[in-house]
Subunit: 273 residues, 3 copies
């Protein structure tokens, strides 16, 4: 890495692109840390969906250069939730609300080794608004940290053990079936399940074979367990390992969530045939 | 500010992200002013909504580092409206159509001290298209100015007094009620009113108290005047000062514009109780 | 161009902004080629619409600084289609799937002088997923090439003659009418036809005159052949040369595609009056 490329901030939120929220945060960073380079990971997290944000931050982390990782999905802005900046064991800095949003990524990064409460950070922009802590607290703290400030300067120390942690639904085996919940649905209608790559070995699923998918209402569908969409005829259901290495359900050239009427948290049974 | 971070251009438009318009303008800047750094303030201004663009440019301005501020919301492209570059009293440069889009920000920046008509700017890209002056006129002029050209080189001098100015509806007091118009609705359905922070002292509104909102059709609703969304129960109406320090109406975890059937320019009466 | 501005990568895709796909690709570039500057041309290509992507890449090319042009619209990811990096006669590098997406731009850039198959590129990220070659193949190859790697290092040589090429529908003259197909519809409902600037001279169309538009179902409408939208009354049909210098149909301040019920590939007859 050359010395001219500047420190890196990645930024994830549910702000969307219709309003100026993201642009204002970029401007705040440029004011405080003009050398910083910002990568917009995504601002399309469904509004207030902390778990979707946490999952995407975690699955993206291995691809992100080390730096400051700013994340804002904050349904309780203005309420009692803490605002935090944390340092993980691998050196990454995460900044955001303490509502579980950062917890999955922090865990993947080796756990939290230092945490500060930044609600009254000296780096805040005054006056702090009641509704836009992204602009007034999270972004200026992230920018100052990327510009070289120490974590301890950003706020009051707090106990890493007391940070809010998300619990994800884990898949279980039951009478030879894999019982798993929907954890995420992308914009193509592909349905990711709570079954990670490392859990797959125990499931008895075999590539190229058919499986029976049993929906929450008892209805069943046949699907093929395949490596790629291209192996499966257009309009047919497939089960596959997605780009985040999770088990997922799709329709080749179609929309599986719509076809099956699935939503996040629905439980599926996958029965090898 | 370090010398390696380059000059800054901020960019606001109604181009959206579905087409390549924004990307082409970025490419034009990179060609003319490779050192320039571009901050996309927003490209989600509702199509042709000059007033929404003007309001967002003004409310964002205090957060933008000084530089060249490019703005394109241009319903009359190809017609007689002027294209301008202007210098404000605080040194900021604004570039865009002369339809009022720049006027609120220019006023906040201390007023216009120099203006040039850039319709036939020597910095234009030839051939100038009839419909995409963002690419052919506004962006190349902004890029050249950010790269160090003088305003006087960009076009023909014109009289700052003759630039188009937007008039915003001002709130008034009437029989103890605040009568205000809707000036902006964000994507969450929060409804901003034409009542600025500095006008609030005279309104008789008291934090924590209830108010009666009277809609254009006479219908009334109770709302709480609160500091934060979190003070108000989910699904309840609140009146609050938004992140742009304007009075606004919201529904906690809901959509106020839809709930109340409000649109921009509707008039509301707010009656303290 | 100053030495501090770094090599340039432009990026076009159908990934949209709702998911993190674009952000992950930016992160991959920042990891491999931290000096590179990325311009997002657009990520709003309709899903899997290779021709729309190819048309936009070609029409944008004259505005893009020379560099590496990454493009991903890839309905057959995981199937037998090749992945390629190519060098055009003018020195530009194009990277993407070999499904015609790059072909129109390559032709405009003087034709392909060197091509490599990058499916098994040493620059790939392992493990390569079945569905996200943007992250695992195309982006890392583009990043390494922008950082100075030679094309020959990126993959196995392949014959430029064997690359997939798109055929565009050409307009024809028939009994004094111009018969042309719809090639693209933008988000404003403006309808671009397969008639390029250089073909216009032969059509007998005269600026300022009326024409008759005959729709696929035989229905006819009157339109004005105009230079700008502003010449035509609101809500009236016009025929004009668009910003890509193609003949196009629009409704002044309205949506022509909706009004006329037109879709890509529909055939129109334009009859001078």
């Amino acid at each position: 890495v050359s010395s001219t490329s500047g420190p890196l901030i990645t930024f994830l939120s549910d702000y969307g692109h219709d309003d100026e929220f993201v642009g204002i945060c970029h401007a705040v960073i440029a004011t405080i840390s003009p050398e910083a380079r910002v990568i917009d990971l995504t601002h399309g997290i469904p509004r207030h969906d902390v778990r979707a944000g946490a999952l995407i931050l975690r699955s993206s982390l291995p691809y992100l250069p080390p730096g400051v990782h700013l994340a804002v999905v904050d349904p309780d802005v203005g309420a009692e939730r803490r605002a935090v900046a944390i340092r993980a064991a691998d050196g990454r800095i995460l900044v955001g609300p303490d509502n579980g949003l950062l917890s999955l990524a922090a865990q993947l990064a080796g756990g939290v080794v230092e945490a500060v409460d930044i609600a009254r950070s000296p780096f805040r922009l005054e006056p702090v608004s009641a509704t836009f802590h992204g602009r007034d607290i999270f972004t200026p703290v992230a920018a100052r940290l990327s510009a070289g400030a120490e974590l301890a300067q950003a706020g009051e120390p707090c106990d890493p053990e007391q940070l809010v942690s998300l619990e994800l639904p884990r898949a279980r085996l039951e009478d030879g079936a894999v019982v798993a919940r929907v954890v995420y649905i992308d914009r193509f209608g592909n349905v990711a399940l709570g079954v990670e790559h490392d859990d797959l070995a125990d499931t008895g699923l075999k590539l190229g074979r058919s499986v029976e998918l049993q929906l929450p209402r008892g209805e069943t569908h046949e699907a093929q367990y395949a490596l790629t969409f291209a192996e499966v005829q257009a309009d047919r259901l497939l089960l596959y390992e997605d780009a985040q290495r999770r088990l997922a359900v799709a329709v080749s050239r179609g929309n599986a969530a719509t076809r099956l009427g699935l939503a996040v948290d629905d439980e599926l049974r996958i029965i090898p045939k």
